[in-house]
């Protein structure tokens, strides 16, 4: 299958996505942000639709919408009790807008399904370059704030005592998350992006007990899902996001089952 350029691009893109999702996912899980990640991906859908409507690329629209909304959500989320309801409202609004923009843009339905569910065929080598650039940017920022982000994510109480600028950290992290969502949505689609940003890391936390190891394992799990998903999709012609979702969910439930039987065995 590597004789086709689009498959080579898809594998390159998938590899970048898996690495970014493995790293970011560990923080997403530690900060309890699965739900928010889901919302950001819906906002990403709306942004992509807007991008098409405005005559830009879907990725540019996505970046615009997710980054702006992540900053807004970061300010909202100060009051935790109200957060879930507020986030649901925002997400409903954005899905609605996305549908509106798509119909205004007058594109055919397959374009919409590509945004929502992802596609293998659509990825050009300039897309890959763009994703690579964004991913490197995300990685550099993470590296620069790594110890602070780690402390705040895994022990918010301790980070507060230390006087770390936790509010700033939280906004910076949301912007990074927005960038990652936009990058990853290119291949798995905005509906399923939160799978790669949450499940591999959620699985890894049952087996690895340091942040570095969790990241390593999450990256491996994401890579296995993405690579086998792409291969199976190529062989069967079924959608790639179906395979990725199924594989990652399978890993997660196996880990959960393993953990349950182990704790049960201990008494």
């Amino acid at each position: 299958m590597f004789e086709y350029e689009f498959m080579r691009n898809a594998f390159a893109a998938g590899t970048i996505i898996a690495i970014i999702c493995g790293i970011m996912g560990v923080f997403v899980i530690a900060r309890n942000m699965s739900f928010l990640t889901h919302t950001l991906s819906e906002i990403g859908f709306s942004g992509a639709a807007f991008g098409i409507f405005a005559g830009w690329t879907p990725l540019s629209g996505m970046l615009l919408f997710t980054v702006i909304s992540s900053v807004i959500v970061g300010r909202l989320s100060v009051r935790a009790e109200r957060r879930e309801a507020a986030i649901s409202a925002i997400s409903a609004l954005f899905i609605g807008l996305g549908i509106l923009f798509l119909s205004l843009a007058n594109t055919n339905a397959s374009y919409a399904t590509n945004i929502l569910f992802g596609s293998v065929i659509g990825i050009s080598s300039s897309d890959v370059t763009q994703m690579l650039t964004l991913s490197i940017l995300v990685l550099i920022v993470i590296l620069a704030i790594y110890r602070f982000l780690k402390f705040d994510s895994f022990d918010h109480t301790g980070a507060l005592v230390k006087g770390l600028w936790t509010n700033t950290l939280s906004v910076v992290f949301l912007v990074l998350l927005a960038l990652s969502v936009s990058v990853a949505a290119q291949i798995v689609g905005s509906l399923l992006i939160f799978i790669l940003l949450t499940l591999p890391a959620a699985t890894a936390k049952y087996f690895a007990h340091s942040v570095g190891r969790m990241m390593g394992l999450a990256i491996v799990l994401a890579l296995v899902g993405v690579w086998s998903g792409l291969t199976l999709s190529y062989l069967t012609n079924y959608p790639v996001s179906f395979f990725i979702a199924a594989i990652e969910a399978l890993f997660y439930f196996l880990a959960l089952g393993w953990q349950t039987t182990r704790t049960a065995a201990k008494g």
Binding site: K150, H156, T157, G158, V161, L164, H209, G212
Partner: protein, 235 residues
């Protein structure tokens, strides 16, 4: 060990939650190397006072001063409650290492690793370094919290009922350790506790909060009558 340099000064400090005064006009000067115990019945405002000292709560009146400047005071805090559920993944070793933020690289330097190993040994956690802290017992968790607070070498340590869930032997071991650092490195300690015998054994000064006000002095003045009087009035 007490030197004369003040490290913390509470200046007419008052705290009122909406419709609910907690403490009022509290004045206190704490010197480097002193060991204070903070006592008082449940709900009287001990944790609130500690969080005000940490600048996590803004006082309604008065001020908290760090001396000589705020940048010279490094605080270690072992809070009364912490969110660590059974699923929490980090090992005790990694949890303790979280507090090392002085250096930038993602991984710990050799010196930092040695410091973590050292503090884990001192707090009696050497055998448990790889245990996920979510699965550790209540007392083991408390030890890990103390180790995390101590790993960055604070000069002001705040313990909020940090020994409440420890067995008598472990309790003594940990407080002996805190006392050792207190004496050797002039660590200032604020020890919030309901355990009057322990307060008498380790502290040099006491601050007793009561609903009416507060009282402070050398620990010898924290008499049984005083403690009983407080309890009798409110039980």
């Amino acid at each position: 060990m007490t030197t004369t340099a003040p490290i913390l000064k509470l200046d007419h400090l008052g705290m009122t939650f909406p419709g609910h005064p907690v403490f009022n006009d509290l004045n206190l000067t704490i010197h480097r190397g002193e060991f204070w115990s903070i006592v008082g019945e449940n709900g009287v405002g001990k944790t609130t006072l500690m969080r005000t000292i940490l600048h996590q709560l803004r006082p309604t009146t008065g001020r908290v001063h760090y001396l000589p400047t705020s940048s010279t005071v490094r605080i270690g805090y072992v809070p009364q409650f912490r969110n660590i559920d059974a699923d929490y993944p980090l090992s005790i070793r990694d949890f303790v290492g979280l507090n090392l933020t002085g250096w930038k690289l993602p991984w710990l330097s050799r010196r930092e690793r040695a410091r973590v190993t050292d503090i884990l040994a001192q707090t009696g956690l050497a055998q448990l370094v790889h245990r996920p802290i979510g699965q550790a017992s209540g007392g083991e968790k408390q030890k890990a919290y103390l180790a995390q607070a101590l790993v960055e070498r604070p000069n002001l340590l705040i313990l909020d009922e940090s020994t409440a869930s420890l067995d008598p032997v472990t309790k003594t071991e940990l407080l002996d350790l805190v006392q050792k650092i207190n004496q050797q490195m002039a660590l200032t300690v604020l020890f919030v506790t309901h355990d009057i015998p322990m307060a008498r054994r380790y502290a040099e000064q006491f601050l007793m909060l009561t609903p009416q006000g507060s009282e402070q002095g050398p620990i010898a003045q924290l008499t049984d009558q005083k403690v009983w009087h407080e309890e009798a009035q409110h039980v």
